[in-house]
Symmetry: C2
Subunit: 417 residues, 2 copies
């Protein structure tokens, strides 16, 4: 009955699956405003309702049709009431595209156990130092069976977050896609911890689901989240439970191990049990190799800070370098010692930055601390990711995905258009 009510209030074409073969999917997500997002798509992170160093119109002009906003951060500033008064996130930030919000649960990890363990999704995968425990650090989040308690990283005030509150906040934020409250476990967490946490996340998912259905929330869609760390039986139980509820989409979260092989393994356990007709989001992924893994395991969208954070440290994505990155802050790029100094980051790249500025100039701006370089490099990196995904979608359409992947990963693609 409730489900029927929801269906007629909602756009029936929230997700359209256009193609599916060998687990690889093509689809379209549409929000109630009629704005659409072709999948598979990379969703950049706009923590504070702003992709760092870029304004919303510039983001849209890059062809980016989906972004990922952090509920916990928005709750702290400006608060969901302010966003709601201003007409919700779309109006508040003036962004015309599909807006995802997380639940705040990830911060229970990133401000909690991650501080103690000295890990984070990014840290655990990319840190050269590897994992390190750091017991002197103080947690800013604690988890109980009924809620998460945060100590605000802005003003120190104490915030309790229940599953129902998380949905209420996301409802006021007016995102298109909401997530249930869950806990993202540390890659160092024991089986016992992950089991308890997964069971709690399932209970919280049900609470969120019920609250969402009872309140008949229109124009917004809710994803359940599969947890269970890197333990087969936990992932399977979580998958079974989450898929038993009529969520609008399914997300996969939590620790996915420390390599793309780990991610592939975990996704391969569960992918064939996910409903075909619902969109699937992989949380906090990823690097370029991880994106291929996600797509081959049936994921439709994935969010990550990599392209934007890398940009702010001077690391740019290029086609012709190992790991597809180049650090343009090196003195080498300053002058004619480098053959590239008077060329753009990538001669074949059609982004605003590459059409207008040389590596030497960008190197100089970085050296002297001019913040406009962060904007310019963010534009380049997001253009790279977005164009890569466009090329991947095209290759899927043309039944040439594996061919494209082979050429791309072997650096035999000269140009992404």
């Amino acid at each position: 009955m409730q489900s029927y009510m929801n269906n007629i209030q909602k756009n029936n074409t929230f997700f359209e699956l256009l193609h599916s073969e060998d687990r690889i999917r093509l689809g379209i997500i549409r929000n109630w405003l009629g704005q659409s997002l072709e999948t598979p798509a990379f969703i950049p992170v706009a923590t504070n309702a702003s992709i760092r160093a870029l304004d919303s119109i510039s983001v849209k002009n890059l062809g980016i049709n989906g972004i990922f906003v952090n509920t916990y951060h928005m709750h702290l500033s400006p608060g969901e009431e302010v966003v709601s008064e201003l007409g919700g996130l779309h109006k508040f930030m003036n962004y015309e595209g599909v807006i995802f919000t997380d639940s705040g649960g990830f911060q229970a990890f990133s401000l909690g156990q991650a501080i103690i363990d000295g890990v984070g999704k990014i840290a655990s995968v990319f840190s050269k130092e590897g994992k390190r425990r750091n017991k002197d650090q103080q947690k800013l989040a604690e988890i109980t069976d009924d809620y998460i308690v945060f100590k605000s990283h802005i003003d120190g005030r104490i915030i309790k977050l229940t599953p129902e509150m998380s949905i209420q906040i996301q409802q006021k934020l007016g995102s298109d896609i909401m997530m249930v409250l869950d806990e993202c476990t540390s890659p160092l967490a024991s089986y016992e911890y992950c089991k308890n946490s997964m069971e709690r996340s399932c209970r919280w998912a049900l609470k969120c689901y019920n609250f969402f259905k009872e309140n008949n929330i229109p124009n917004q869609y809710l994803y359940g989240i599969i947890q269970g760390g890197h333990y087969y039986d936990l992932r399977m139980k979580s998958t079974e439970f989450i898929c038993s509820l009529d969520f609008d989409g399914i997300a996969v979260g939590g620790s996915l191990g420390t390599s793309k092989e780990n991610i592939a393994e975990i996704l391969s356990w569960i992918v064939d049990y996910l409903p075909q007709d619902k969109p699937r989001h992989l949380l906090g992924i990823g690097s370029i190799p991880e994106i291929f893994v996600a797509i081959e395991h049936g994921m439709d969208t994935f969010d990550c800070i990599i392209p934007t954070r890398y940009a702010r440290t001077g690391t740019v994505f290029v086609l012709d370098s190992p790991n597809f990155v180049r650090d343009i802050t090196s003195k080498y790029y300053k002058n004619k010692e480098s053959k590239r100094y008077d060329l753009p980051i990538d001669e074949n790249c059609q982004c605003y930055t590459c059409r207008n500025y040389s590596v030497s100039y960008l190197n100089h701006l970085f050296y002297v601390g001019e913040i406009c370089v962060m904007t310019l490099l963010t534009i380049h990196n997001l253009h790279f990711y977005n164009t890569l995904l466009k090329n991947i979608r095209k290759s899927i359409k043309e039944n040439k995905y594996f061919e494209f992947k082979q050429l791309f990963l072997n650096r035999m693609i000269e140009k992404l258009e």
Copy 2:
């Protein structure tokens, strides 16, 4: 002979005086690339070959046709050789407009006596604390009769700057308008100090002039600088000497006192002795009232960090507020306590920021430290300054300057178009 050589190599229409009445002038400056700048014009400061928080194309798109680059900073990074290898400042920063460079002399003050005196051009005029001596601070610049010695604020290396070197560096930077090496005196400097300094600045101006003429530098123009602090006889002697040489333009520098009345007085001493057919630049000015003073005293261009620096602290220019500024970082602008929260900074403003974002959103971005707000506010402030100057030029053309000024300063103008 040399002068003749120079004339034929150069664009004869470097400066065209279109109109002059009651000392108020209208003109056009054209560089050798054919890029033109209508005067009177405000010239924003691009210290490191970048207007802070904006890239060059965005600057040009704002209709800004002249910028002011600091030679000392460019000498430190990336160095004039690198800029020269890349084809000069226009190519290096990809800016199509008239580029001014200073001589490095201002940094002899700002990194020298200004540190000891706790003053600067901005500090002395705007600081609420007023002037304060700060003897514990260490100078990073010392001046001798023959050169300035700097200790680099980046890496501590020692740099000697002679008049000839300053011209050589500016030549390699490839700016359109170069300045002679001078000393900008502190507003606290004694008559004796100002006299010696002015005489040295005159000797240096001659050295720069001779070096410039002997080296037959094409496509670039050199301005002499009038110094002399707030002392009548020193300003007159400096004016006489600088105007006796065939510079391409005349700049007025140094301490101009602490109020717009002081500036008016100093300019009124000298303006009628300046050659009519040469462009005149007022260094380091200014606030909005100062701009009117400058224009009424025959100045054509003036550079200042005010609109850009104010933007980065959250202070925006508006038509309906005392001093024409509003601090949008106040909590008041966060939500509906303020009537303005869901409106742009200025409803009548046509800038990119006002067309797209509300005060509440900008306030939020500032509060959470998202750097894109600096870009957005810089766009607004530069649009305000640039549109104001456009309106002033129009009023001069239509013989309505004083009428416009009266309405504007009494906040009776609702819209700048």
